[in-house]
Symmetry: none
Subunit: 539 residues, 2 copies
Amino acid sequence: MNADSTNRIWIYDTTLRDGSQREGMSLSIEDKLRIAHRLDRLGVPFIEGGWPGANPKDVQFFWRLQEEPLQNAEAVAFCSTRRPGKTAAEDPMLQPILSAGTRWVTIFGKSWDLHVIEGLNTTLEENLEMIRDTIEFLRSQGRQVIYDAEHWFDGYKHNPTYALKTLETAIAAGAEWIVFCDTNGGTLPHEISQITRTVIQTLRQNTDIPINFGIHTHNDAETAVANALTAVLEGVRMVQGTINGYGERCGNANLCSLIPNLQLKLGYDCIDPSHLVKLTETSRYISEVANLAPDDHAAFVGLSAFAHKGGIHVSAVQRNPLTYEHLQPELIGNKRRIVVSDQAGMSNILAKAATFGIDLNKQDPKCRQILEKLKELENQGYQFEAAEASFELLMHEAVGDRQTFFEIKGFHVHCEQLEGMTNVLATVKVGVNGKNILEAAEGNGPVSALDAALRKALVNFYPALADFQLTDYKVRILDGGAGTSAKTRVLVESSNGHQRWTTVGVSTNIIEASYQAVVEGLEYGLILQTQGKEVVALS
Amino acid sequence: MNADSTNRIWIYDTTLRDGSQREGMSLSIEDKLRIAHRLDRLGVPFIEGGWPGANPKDVQFFWRLQEEPLQNAEAVAFCSTRRPGKTAAEDPMLQPILSAGTRWVTIFGKSWDLHVIEGLNTTLEENLEMIRDTIEFLRSQGRQVIYDAEHWFDGYKHNPTYALKTLETAIAAGAEWIVFCDTNGGTLPHEISQITRTVIQTLRQNTDIPINFGIHTHNDAETAVANALTAVLEGVRMVQGTINGYGERCGNANLCSLIPNLQLKLGYDCIDPSHLVKLTETSRYISEVANLAPDDHAAFVGLSAFAHKGGIHVSAVQRNPLTYEHLQPELIGNKRRIVVSDQAGMSNILAKAATFGIDLNKQDPKCRQILEKLKELENQGYQFEAAEASFELLMHEAVGDRQTFFEIKGFHVHCEQLEGMTNVLATVKVGVNGKNILEAAEGNGPVSALDAALRKALVNFYPALADFQLTDYKVRILDGGAGTSAKTRVLVESSNGHQRWTTVGVSTNIIEASYQAVVEGLEYGLILQTQGKEVVALS
């Protein structure tokens, strides 16, 4: 394959590896699996999952991925070149890479002589040998290799001859892609442009092997996106980055900006055009899973990216969006927001109703009622993007067909710590079939005690509850600046063993917010149960 | 003056005008004055203060500025060209501009035929007349004029001949600077480069008047900084932007990135080199005044911009910062941070001890004990990256000099919801000076009730507590897959009015985790109080 004869750009996502180096970001294996499958559905062709062996989590992630494989994307395992002084076949570091069971492996190696000598404490010659041996070994094991040239631009500036030798070695050893990495993130676009142009020309002159090039940039000079675009204009065909630009220090190149820039502005093919509309929801879903507040001012996918304030702007943009918008927000699944009187959303409500199997049309006054209710709740801090089950309940409420399984009468939580011992006891009162049921349970925290008491109270009436589980629980403090008086938003994911759904609760009292979400989770599960309905799984 | 024969770049700050268009940003007159004087001290030569006449606040701001004038910077009033159909002298809109009393005025006019016809509802010829008349009138009143060519790049792409005519008109009328504005923010660097080059050449060929050019970009394609740099490389000598990239939609070009890129990487003169070290504190001060959370991952000035995690990274960067840093953080008043995490090695611990003023050396067995303790706690779910106060307490504990202010004996929380009414009551028992104190308080959630009870119990012994506040509260569910039995990590930020510090608590019981963090927050505040110690402010 000679990638640069095509108009295609291979997007390579490293949210799960380089992205998760972001300070304060910590993903569980379940989180990683959810993100990987979401990226797969977006249509990203390469998904770097981690460095198996560097930590137990990444080993297990790749095993789990073998059980729940990606549909279209290639999962990629990441590793360094072998250590100095032993062969790749002998180096135990490379075994977990093979066990990861991916067709593709990314190997990073040193381009910068300073790092070879000061970082690896080895010779320049041995570094070349490490690159060659590692790639050849992986090729002999049937793997396809992407070679990440770490510190490429800094290395090339300091010692171009040696830096070029590392790439020639990787190419001769059988790497299919050579990726120029701006590891320290400080290179500016005009330097990226000059170096990329010269290097591609030189390498093409020196070898007959068809080579494909990639770019991996960081945002330390706030030019990561421009740096990647510049490299593409010089002939690079793989772009590495992360969703929302997550990554250590100032982050990696942001795929949420790169994909629309490349595809909608520069005319390259990155992902299936019909998937482009999923970009905004993918960005928000991943920030939710990572439990990081989304950046409202993010380009393309941010809540404010197409927000217009009152006056001339608004009427101009309504007559002709071109006047104040660089792009149609709908193309990437975002929407124009008129900050004064928001007319948008109606079509969203209708689309959602259709997904939920609720019969609703634009003329129906209920449609506007739902929109009003939605705005009121969002204003209070609710958010339904990741809590569709709660949104569906809200819609059923509005159209008047919400089923009632039980009535919440009240709860009581007692939580005590004395001399290092903690006791938590919850009592709930629920009404079922006209009867009031009181039940109590202990727990290792107030929410698990409440959840246990509630199930005890209801399981005799609804035996299906015995199979329900809480599979995820997330808490976000809204307006954290208000300290412990701030509002809390809780997301609870429930499962009945084969379906999963998420509900939301909001309150200044974290126990109350959790209880709301737990209660709606049970209610929604019972709807699924009685209707035999196929829920759209969250991931 | 012919600006482009020099190496100087004129920085033009528009935080107070375009920046404050950011959704959710609202500055009082006092805020605006504080920011203006701070920018003046940083050494920014032009400070755009607002559009006097568009709102009363901006009129008053310029009057106040006449009483408290800037030391070095030029304050600039902003306004559009006069309205169609009357002369500039007759247009009441221009009177407040003159009353603002600035030497410099920025006038924006239409470059794009579409906007002239659809937006202004006038003729292309009248638009030229509006540009000419407005600039000539202001010149006749002794003002120096900067001409902002609104929608320059889009206008030029649609109708280059007309767009050029607008600039030729502005130049002939006496504008000293012509500023290319990418108003919709969607132009990419290679287009900025081509258009800027062609236009500057054409205008220089067509006139003998020396002209100076500027650039004004927005971040809708996430390339605002690169776009401005590109224009500079094509000969532009004024760069307009905002501190922290504030601005409507996705923001304006970020001066906190542009200034170090231009001055430290490209060798231009922007501000006095001795002032460059004020950049980080200026960024954080302005986010404080604007009451917006600082972006920890911002390039150059972010808290994480020079943060290092891994052990190998840390020892390499300590030997030679060049290995993993694109720039010396001290140059812009930021600093390297060694992030404490279980990837940390001994070198991280020693580096941290030194920052805390704790005497520790590598041979000391306590050093290994701290590392072991750290790993054990991180394994339990603690995380000290963002909770340095808790880590400092842990270190004092290990070296045996942790002060005791009070002893936690126990607490009790009662939380009840009945018929929609919620009651929360907390009781605490603490030991101070050999006495047991019992206190109770209500709250709108369990944590605020506990916090209130604890302060009540302690404030008689430690009156300083009365000034402490909880300023931020964050909750993260670890291993959310365990549902409501999952562990909870709580981060609490406390303040005494002039310093801020963060503490951490972990438990399966969210109330217990919060209580731990609140208790350590009070303890650390008391240490600061008694030692008169200067804490490293978090932001």
